[in-house]
Every structure is written in structure tokens, then in C-alpha cells.
């Protein structure tokens, strides 16, 4: 159900977004190496992390102290983006890929606080993260939540299963919050996003946050990459402003366009005194 050993030989490259039956393997549950979801949990002050996660983060914070603020600002961006999508864009359906370990202000909670009938499909490829999501992300009675155990690269699996809860003839917001930098160029993240957007109708939205390679010095980027390589289950590919903008090809960007997470429609309580190293944008499919 979770792992498909037969696909292992195919590798991940080449299956991305192409709609073939390839399925990436979920990460093994291994607390001796740092894990993306647990790293983020630790950065946000959660308690669902292990020594290896904390060591990796502490090493990264020495190189890029902005990372702590970035994680919190990214979380706050998610909240503002979802509020915008529900309250101003009228969205009631979400496909949230890269759910992570639940914390305060999860997508369905933000959405359902405004529109209780909101429906949210959460997708994550990490079975332990998904167990947390299933246990903790419970919907209002008026709305619904569903969980899909799939890798972002398996777009056909995601779209097929999401259709059980979401009506793809009506607008859907696809949110890819702090996940696309975990997809290397070889897996063609732009094609993955294009495939997802092809499946949703006009009036749908795309929300992205993405670590910015041009928001840090070349040296920081190099050292940070070396730490992840040594400590982490997932590797990261921060991308430039232009590369992130390309995800929105053919979409109309919502004001203020592409911006650092803390600069995207800040609210009075948004901390804009610090600088994150994460790009963000929300765009509408015409």
C-alpha cells in the first residue's frame, strides 16, 4: 500500500509528471537521519523531532540564521494565502501537497474558520507524517478532509485519488508550500506543476513558497547544501526568482506578485523586520 518495490528499478527521473505508473519510494522511517517534515517541526518549535533533526537544523542555523525566521514566516504565509483564497477568491477546495507534521493553523483549519464547508485533500509521501495528519487534522462536519499517501512526482496518483473528494469541474487551489525545492531539476518540477494545473479548471489557483537561491550568498548556499547532504534524508534545490516565477507560466499573479514570504500581503501583525530566504506567490489560472 505504501511502498511499491517494483517501481524502484525505474528510478525517479523520467517518471515525473509524465503520467507513467512510476511511484517514488516513501522515505524509510529512520530517526538517525534528519527528515524534512521533522526539521520543519523543530524550526517551528514542535516536539515531534529527534536528535538527528535538531543537530542538522542547529548546523544549518549556524550557516543561515535566517532559517528559523523563514520557517515561521513561511507558516504565516500559508495562513494568509489560504485566507486570501477562501475569503477573497472564493475558493472552497484545496489540494495541499507536502502537508508536513500538523502544527497550529493547518490549511483546513484556516479555510474552515472562514468557510466551514471547505474541502481539503492533504498529500504527503512520508507515512509517519501522514499518520500524524490523519490523527490530528480532523475536519468540521460541514467540510471534509482526505489524505493521500503519494509522492509529488506521482501526479496521476494524486489527481486520481483527490477526485474522490474534490470536484475538478470547480476551482481548486493547489498549494505547494515549501516542497518544490525538495524536487531536483532532474525530476522536472516545472512539468509536475504544469500537470497539476492542467487538471484544474479556469479560476483555480496555485500557491507556492520556495527556498530562494538568490536570497542567500553563494557561500551560504554551498555550505547549507553540504550540511543537508551530510545529515538529511532529503536534498534541497533552492531556486532563483526567475525559476520560481516559471512555475506560474500562463497564470495571473495575485498582488504583490512574487515576493519573499513575509512580504506577500503582510498583515499588521506580520513580522516584516526580518528577511526570509523563501520566495512565494499565488497565481490564478485564467
Amino acid at each position: 500500500m505504501t511502498s511499491d518495490q517494483t517501481a524502484a528499478g525505474a528510478g525517479t527521473a523520467g517518471t515525473a509528471g509524465s503520467g507513467t505508473a512510476g511511484k517514488a519510494n516513501p522515505p524509510p522511517f529512520d530517526t538517525s537521519v534528519a527528515n524534512q517534515a521533522r526539521i520543519y517541526d523543530y524550526l517551528l518549535g514542535g516536539k515531534d523531532n529527534y536528535a538527528a533533526d535538531r543537530e542538522a537544523v542547529d548546523a544549518v542555523l549556524k550557516i543561515a540564521p535566517e532559517m528559523g525566521f523563514t520557517a515561521r514566516a513561511n507558516r504565516a504565509f500559508l495562513g494568509r494565502a489560504v485566507r486570501y483564497l477562501v475569503a477573497e477568491a472564493g475558493i472552497r477546495q484545496f489540494l495541499d501537497i507536502g502537508t508536513g507534521i500538523p502544527t497550529a493553523g493547518n490549511t483546513h483549519q484556516v479555510a474552515q474558520a472562514i468557510a466551514p464547508e471547505s474541502r481539503v485533500v492533504y498529500v504527503d509521501y512520508d507515512p509517519i507524517v501522514l499518520a500524524h495528519a490523519r490523527a490530528l487534522l480532523t475536519s468540521t462536519d460541514a467540510g471534509a478532509t482526505e489524505y493521500i499517501d503519494a509522492d509529488l512526482r506521482d501526479t496521476q496518483v494524486i489527481l486520481g485519488q483527490a477526485a474522490r473528494l474534490l470536484d475538478f469541474t470547480k476551482p481548486v487551489a493547489v498549494t505547494l508550500i515549501s516542497i518544490l525545492h525538495a524536487i531536483p531539476d532532474d525530476d522536472d518540477p516545472h512539468a509536475i506543476v504544469a500537470t497539476l494545473l492542467d487538471a484544474v479548471p479556469s479560476g483555480s489557483y496555485l500557491g507556492i513558497s520556495h527556498m530562494g537561491s538568490d536570497l542567500m550568498s553563494a557561500e551560504t548556499l554551498r555550505e547549507m547544501t553540504a550540511v543537508w547532504k551530510r545529515t538529511s534524508q532529503q536534498q534541497y534545490t533552492p531556486r532563483s526568482r526567475d525559476q520560481v516565477a516559471r512555475f506560474f507560466t500562463g497564470l495571473d499573479l495575485v498582488e504583490p506578485g512574487l515576493a519573499r514570504v513575509e512580504q506577500w500581503r503582510p498583515e499588521p501583525e506580520t513580522d516584516v523586520a526580518h528577511r526570509s530566504i523563501m520566495w512565494s506567490a499565488v497565481g490564478r489560472k485564467a
Partner: protein, 299 residues
């Protein structure tokens, strides 16, 4: 040990203090420290107006000593906390931290080590557990609880059994308080299959479990026999988590005549790992609900 060192008043032995009061004092102390620090006031400066020493402030802030309401009020004023709502909340916490616990009435049947658990349970925001044998106490029916209690205390009088069962049922009020803790239990299939009290009692118990699973604050997962071996080889345990960021998780392992409380990070993480792994191996909550109903039909 005392030669040449500044003399500090002896700390009370934390084991002498009921845990609920301890936890509440820790929470209150942590809040007071944060308020003091954000007001830019040193411990010495805080001590003077309440006629205390710097070390008394430090012991208050780590939850080692009780609080006088008047001291808390004076400190809040000193720290510039004038917001009525915030003052009321903190003072309510101070009051609760000195009130006797509800289970004090059950002192005759309550071993001290279990009293500690009740304190932690009532302070927790999340209770994760793994059960191999029994339905979690918070979801037991009276008849099931009686059957289990009788087995454990076969020489007890009927009156004592009644009191033990009454205590267990009273504990369940936790689930209906205004902001109940999140309870996330993973159960071995054996829990559903061993009919304590006979098939009728068990069927009723399974129905209760199915109802519990439907509550938004409750998550139940079963590891079916068919999934083979699982990570929980060690036996039953609970992990209690508290809202306060500074408070570590506590692992509780019940033994026949005592209990083990683990709060050192490496120990806690070992159990967290096991329960994480179990929750990944177990049926999803939705499939578990169907599984429990099926088990009820088969009992």
C-alpha cells in the same frame, strides 16, 4: 558540599508534591519568567517588592515552590501586565496550582505513583498510548472496568472494587471538559479480542470504543494480527505532552506495583519513535472504526 558555597535554601523534593500541582506550577513559573524577561526586569529587582530573594524568584519560576496569590498579583503589576483578561488567567492558574486534586478523595485506594499519572494526564494536551491488552482506561465501560479491576484485585471487598471503578469512570470526565486533550491510542488487535467480563460486556465495550472513535478529539488505530509483528514489542505505554514549549514529554509505563516515568530526552525519543512507527503500521482511523464494528459483530 556546603563549604564555601553560597547557601541556598533546600529545594522541596519534587516527589513529595502531587504532579498536577507540580505541572501547573511549572507552567505558571515559565509564564512569569517570560513576562519578567520581556519587561527587562532582573530576578533581584523582582524579588524586592514581594519581600523575597533572587533565589526564591528562581524557584518560583521553575515551579519548585507554591505561589501566594498576592505575590503573583504584585509580580504581574511589576511586569506591567495590566490586561484584565491576562491577569485573570494567570491568577486562575495560580489558584488551581494550590488547590487539592479531585482524586485526593480516593487516597485510600490510590497508590502515590498512580496519583502522579492522574496529575500529568489532567495537565496534558496530547496523550498518545499503545495498548496491548486492555481498552484504554479513558474509554472503558463501567462493566469492563469492573471485570478488569476484579481480576487485578481478587481479594478486594465489593465496596473497594466499586470505588476503584468509580475512580476510573470519574477520570473519563477529562474527555468532556471544555478543551479536552487530544487522545491518540494505538491498540493491538488483542485489545479488541480478549473478552473481559464475557462477550456481552465486551460487545458493549466495543460499541463504546466505536463511539469514542467518532469524537473529534479522539484518534484510535488498531494494529491487526494480520500485519504480523510490530514495533511495540515492549508492551503498553503512554506519552503525555504538555502545551508549554519548555515542558518535556513524559513517558508512563505501568507495572504491577509501581510505574515508570521517563522524561529524559533519549528515553522519551525511543518511545516516540516506537509509537510513531506503530501509528504508521496500524490501520488508519477510518479503517479502524470499521474494524472495531466488525469485531463487535464477531464477539
Amino acid at each position: 558540599m556546603d563549604a564555601g558555597l553560597p547557601s541556598l535554601p533546600p529545594l522541596p523534593d519534587p516527589d513529595d508534591v502531587p504532579a498536577e500541582a507540580t505541572v501547573l506550577r511549572m507552567l505558571l513559573g515559565a509564564q512569569l519568567r517570560r513576562l519578567r524577561e520581556s519587561a527587562g526586569i532582573s530576578a533581584e529587582q523582582a524579588a524586592y517588592p514581594i519581600r523575597a530573594s533572587r533565589s526564591k524568584i528562581s524557584r518560583m519560576e521553575t515551579g519548585r515552590v507554591g505561589f501566594k496569590l498576592r505575590d503573583v498579583e504584585d509580580l504581574l503589576t511589576l511586569y506591567g501586565v495590566t490586561d484584565g483578561q491576562q491577569r485573570t488567567e494567570i491568577l486562575a492558574l495560580a489558584r488551581r496550582s494550590s488547590a487539592p486534586d479531585w482524586w485526593a478523595r480516593y487516597g485510600d485506594i490510590l497508590p502515590g505513583w498512580f496519583e502522579t499519572y492522574l496529575g500529568l494526564e489532567s495537565a496534558a494536551t496530547t496523550i498518545r498510548s499503545f495498548e496491548v491488552q486492555f481498552v484504554p482506561g479513558l474509554f472503558q465501560t463501567e462493566d469492563y472496568a469492573r471485570a478488569v479491576t476484579q481480576l487485578g484485585h481478587h481479594s478486594a471487598s465489593p465496596a473497594e472494587i466499586d470505588r476503584r471503578v468509580a475512580l476510573r469512570i470519574k477520570r473519563q470526565e477529562l474527555l468532556s471538559r471544555p478543551s479536552p486533550p487530544r487522545v491518540w491510542a494505538v491498540m493491538d488487535e488483542a485489545v479488541l479480542r480478549r473478552p473481559y467480563g464475557g462477550p456481552e460486556v465486551m460487545r458493549e465495550q466495543l460499541r463504546r470504543l466505536a463511539q469514542a472513535a467518532a469524537r473529534p478529539q479522539v484518534t484510535l488505530q488498531v494494529v491487526p494480527f494480520a500485519r504480523g509483528g510490530h514495533a511495540g514489542a515492549s508492551g503498553a505505554f503512554s506519552i503525555l505532552r504538555f502545551a508549554e514549549r519548555d515542558l518535556p514529554d513524559v513517558v508512563y509505563i505501568e507495572q504491577l506495583t509501581s510505574a515508570l516515568y521517563l522524561d529524559q530526552r533519549p528515553d522519551v525519543e525511543h518511545y516516540l519513535e516506537v509509537v510513531d512507527q506503530l501509528s504508521g503500521q496500524a490501520l488508519t482511523p477510518a479503517d479502524t472504526a470499521a474494524f472495531i464494528e466488525q469485531a463487535a459483530r464477531e464477539t
